[in-house]
Symmetry: C2
Subunit: 267 residues, 2 copies
């Protein structure tokens, strides 16, 4: 099934099937993974598999932030590959997102696209807009996948460049408009939960496009406010990520179930 759908469609199917907009962020920092796993050569994969088995009934997507795996070198890279393979085999309807924030010139983007989409087998990848659409074509042209462009990030200092005013509009809104109107239909946007007013403004500008939403929980984003600000006309359009507050919870299944329910109460 998944080969026939692009990333956006795959997410929508899964979101409808299990009634969930939740993305579980497998930010499996080895320093925070329980000591019991440390002796395992495949520690991050073993931890991820346990988390997936507990949380998959509530997960419309899983997102792996590459930084926490690259910090472990080759072993971490292998654990990313094993995790995506495991998801494709056991839970093929769940969207897999590579949170890598890549962006390079065209010939180099081709190599990244091959690594992320083909070698590792992800459905979607996060990308930086700074080099423009032309540089990202090797990602964007993959209509079987999804390209998720940084627009309004969740960090406290996000505004340094994103808030600069270009023709009476902040830069992040220009990025949103260009991506939605002139890039491709298999693109999504990263819009942080920590700036709900900006999310509302972006939603008004881009129609029903899907947002990947970091910043809930630890970073201070509020669930009800976010859902109200960002939902599209189809009562979807949001992939709401939570990482540490689920995967390092005493009971990850309960944490995922509760957040999924909290999101649905606001839909």
């Amino acid at each position: 099934m998944s080969v026939l759908l692009n990333g956006v469609e795959k997410f929508n199917h899964r979101a409808d099937a299990i009634e969930s907009l939740l993305c579980v962020g497998l930010d499996s920092d080895i320093k925070r993974v329980p000591v019991a796993y440390w002796a395992d050569e495949h520690a991050q994969f073993a931890f991820n598999r346990a988390i997936i088995e507990q949380t998959h009934p509530y997960a419309a997507a899983y997102k792996l932030n590459m930084a926490f795996y690259e910090a472990r070198g080759e072993a971490g890279w292998r654990d990313v590959r094993s995790t995506v393979k495991y998801l494709r085999e056991h839970h093929p309807s769940i969207l897999t997102i590579c949170d890598a924030k890549r962006g390079d010139i065209g010939s180099t983007s081709e190599a990244y696209a091959r690594a992320i989409f083909d070698d590792l087998g992800f459905d979607a990848v996060t990308l930086s807009p700074y080099l423009g659409r032309e540089a990202l074509l090797p990602f964007i042209q993959r209509t079987d996948k999804a390209s998720i462009i940084l627009c309004r990030t969740s960090n406290p200092g996000a505004g340094e460049f994103q808030d600069l005013i270009v023709e009476n509009k902040p830069l992040y809104l220009h990025v949103a408009e260009r991506v939605s109107r002139e890039w491709n239909c298999n693109c999504m946007l990263v819009v942080g939960a920590t700036y709900p007013d900006d999310m509302r403004q972006i939603r008004a500008a881009v129609g029903d496009m899907t947002f990947l939403v970091p910043g809930i929980g630890d970073q201070g984003g509020d669930v009800a406010t976010t859902v109200k600000a960002g939902l599209n006309r189809d009562r979807k359009g949001l992939i709401i990520n939570s990482s540490r507050s689920i995967i390092f919870a005493a009971d990850p299944a309960a944490a995922a179930r509760d957040l999924c329910a909290e999101i649905n109460r606001s839909r």
Copy 2:
């Protein structure tokens, strides 16, 4: 020696010692590496070592673009590590640049900085400015290293966002000014050789800051024009990269020597 210097100082010492502003880009795409290496499990490292042995007399820096290694997964990652280790052991005075264009929120940037500076052992890394200085602090605060911020990239579509006008100035100039005035003294900028007029404007705005310059050769940048546009008052300030036209040349040593000499003729 290298532990006492930050990245900028390390480059300047080497540039003076061998009279060279040349950076050899080890973009060792496995598909273009000679067939003789393919059977080697460490193909990219073996190829890089051969290139380094031929080109090091002319190299002030080596730059590894991570995409071409990530495309080979764990094996590629291991070959990056072996290459940097080899350079540290045999040519410790040459600057090593990780061309990764990373950029994530603070807690995640910490993991990337650990991976690139500590685990792999690079002296410098390329970073995207879109999330702002606050997000990149884990890199920028490493005063023993160098952070190289994307400013004016070399690709044909670079202007889509970089040329947007903010208070009568293009965005790339805002990035250049903020980084030079408000970020840190161990920062450099990426400024493409394909836009010499923009390079001239950036040089005028930022004083003697060092630029990493892609875009010479295959991409169309001209050596003499670039040197004239970008040199600082110290007759340095440019790390001029060439990748494929050196490493895939019939005689890499001659290609490096000739480009180094061509650059020096314009200084």
